[in-house]
Symmetry: C2
Subunit: 423 residues, 2 copies
């Protein structure tokens, strides 16, 4: 399965193409003037799934694809996920069922050029939970927020630390966001002020999309079975708001301006050949968190930053294999107390930072708390984000010349609203 599955659609076989037949990621797209609908990327095209269902080329109730979101299809269950994937690999495969390939009119209708469409959020987020699960990130940020000698909280090697986020603030890739206002307090100030955040940051994460309901407590294997797929995720974070608000109950407003998700949900099935083991455990895990097999994935992830009139610069390349806890472990832990998980729940991996200076997942780490600016290709320095900056996350699992691509997760930071309470 880590060899290329050839398609009669030549663009899907091109070296390095992010959307070969092995991938088939779930998205939502609209063409000029049309309403958004479910689509799957293949080569340089997006396959219009409701149109394919209406044409009878896949045996699925078109009702599953009426809503411009994959939630109804998730609800149909893992057997349906497998069935659609197998049918599409047959229909699009070089040596498969010629039903679509040989019907030029249908090909014209259902295979829409990717460069002509607008992409939307691929699913409706039910609830969103974010984690804190990279050893390197926890160490680096703990040293900046707290005491370098005690950077790692005592529970960190035992618990996949998580906190509930805010689903209402999750936005599609391409959505511009305003720099937030909030309470800020300088360490030497007597009282806080209400002002636009001055230390607005990104967090490169991988989101896991829950496709099957889970009761609690569920095992790591059950949690893994419930994952529909993975998507890029940028958890925008106002570090100055966070620093003042986070004790004792955790981040709240610092993380609620927006969380951007990727254009595509990459099916878990497409990532199977890329599973890797978690790093060696520094302390033994409790039984309920032990993994029945490799639950991390070898996925390269990049962060690009571009100033308003500047040149895009890659500021990090990291890999999801650097995590200490997997999504399956995080979700199992999430249910341990009896908490139910529902279809469309989203979990964020936590910032993904590797061991080196060029593999960090957020600006506060890259700039050592804002003390050491980055320099972009065009010579502009950056500590935290400036108004007009565009951040693009991208990534792919790669092996034997094929790539399972995630597309992009893009967002532009706009200036803060003027005097928000002056209305």
């Amino acid at each position: 399965m880590s060899d290329l599955l050839p398609s009669w659609l030549e663009s899907a076989n091109a070296p390095g193409c992010p959307f070969p037949l092995n991938n088939l990621p779930y998205g939502v797209f609209s063409a000029a003037g049309d309403t958004p609908r479910c689509g799957i990327a293949i080569g340089d095209r997006v396959l219009d799934i409701p149109a394919l269902a209406r044409a009878g080329a896949i045996e699925f109730d078109p009702g599953l694809f009426v809503e411009p979101a994959w939630n109804a299809f998730m609800q149909a269950g893992p057997e349906s996920w497998r069935k659609l994937r197998a049918r599409l690999q047959d229909l699009l495969g070089a040596n498969g069922d010629p039903r679509l390939r040989d019907d030029k009119a249908l090909v014209e209708t259902v295979l829409v050029p990717l460069d002509s469409v607008k992409l939307h959020a691929p699913f409706r987020v039910t609830e969103f939970t974010d984690f804190f699960a990279s050893r390197h990130h926890a160490q680096n940020v703990g040293a900046l927020f707290r005491d370098p000698q005690n950077a790692l909280p005592p529970n960190w090697l035992h618990i996949p630390i998580g906190y509930n986020g805010r689903a209402s603030s999750v936005v599609a890739s391409g959505t511009a966001i305003h720099r937030p206002w909030g309470q800020l307090k300088a360490p030497d100030a007597d009282a806080p002020v209400f002002a636009p955040s001055r230390r607005f940051d990104i967090e490169l994460e991988l989101g896991a999309v829950i496709g099957s309901p889970l009761g609690g407590p569920s095992s790591v294997q059950e949690a893994d079975d419930a994952i529909f797929g993975y998507t890029l995720l940028n958890d925008w974070s106002a570090r100055d708001i966070q620093f003042w608000e986070y004790q004792p109950l955790g981040p709240f407003q610092a993380k609620a301006t927006a969380t951007s998700i990727g254009e595509w949900i990459v099916p878990k099935a497409a990532l199977e050949p890329f599973r890797v083991d978690a790093p060696a455990r520094e302390k033994p895990l409790l039984e309920y968190l032990k993994e029945p097999g490799p639950m991390l994935y070898d996925i390269d992830l990049d962060i690009y930053l571009r100033g308003a009139d500047g040149e895009e610069t890659r500021i990090s390349r990291t890999n999801y294999r650097h995590m200490y806890y997997s999504a399956a472990q995080q979700i199992a832990h999430h249910t341990a107390c009896g908490c139910p998980m529902r279809i469309g729940d989203l979990t964020g991996s936590g910032t993904i930072s590797g061991p080196t200076d060029d593999s960090l997942g957020c600006l506060i780490e890259m700039t050592k708390g804002g003390r050491e600016p980055l320099v972009l290709k065009d010579g502009q320095p950056r500590t935290f984000l400036e108004d007009g900056d565009t951040v693009r996350l991208t990534g792919a699992a790669k092996r034997n010349g094929i790539a399972i691509g995630f597309g992009n997760c893009v967002g532009t930071l706009l200036a803060p609203l003027q005097e928000p309470y002056a209305r």
Copy 2:
């Protein structure tokens, strides 16, 4: 408006009746064998709202009441909320429109005896956010969890501290819950264990139900305008799980077993005569948190506890007026960074503790961290909850002989699941 509005339904005029014509709380009920539907309590009856709409006695699209939840009606907007309330006060008033009163068959159909129905959750919870907003509770719990000398976090007098909860774990009054499993670590132990919580607690709170969408940032007045009503709320809390997990990102599994909500949403309109000012501010609030008028309410709130075979004992009487921050302030703060609020969002006031030992909102405070057991009427001692315990919250705003009652919020604690991962 704080005088009794008389009804031709005599039970609604009885002294101390929690559901006089002044109240009209929103609920969802089912009679024997029927499907759940929207109802409003009046005297010893529940008024079947979809039946009343089908009969043409109220001019509302019956489609608003098809779902067994008040969300669709909330979406109709505040003008509709006012219109239905006014129409019901006319139809049920002693001197109002005789259309219902004089139609004995309709009366029989739509006024169902409260003691014959089952009550369900009154609305679908979109997202749930909990706060930490009683000065007394923050002081008491801060002293137990942290250092008595620094019990109040430095941000507490400036920020209505909140954290996101988990909507999937919100349950209707009457739902029994299992004692959760979780990670526990004794202060002197080397490593945590995975075991049932030994310090399972309650938190008496008042929930605010958001009925209109809010963009961010919204003012305190805009936040108040968006509140549909208030309901009782018990935020079950595993103190031992909480103590070990909560740093640095706040409570997570400790609060996700269940949050019980009350049987009824009391309309904000019914509480208007009971508005009271917040206490004097110890430090000046930032402008965006200042209240345009009194935003707290004078509402007596009681906690009753009963062991499996024991006698029900009132263990606290407190009042919502003891809070430092109001729901309107909390919601305004929630939106300050741009976070959108949606219809059906629920905010918990935070544990409501008064200044005295008999007005505390949770067991950890009442028993001084489990060191000083309560003694129930039947002689049983309690530090934290025991299997089989039933907790009942109730409350009412009272003046001039009338009561605006909240009904009950009940939950029974069951034994933990046996070996949850042995399946």
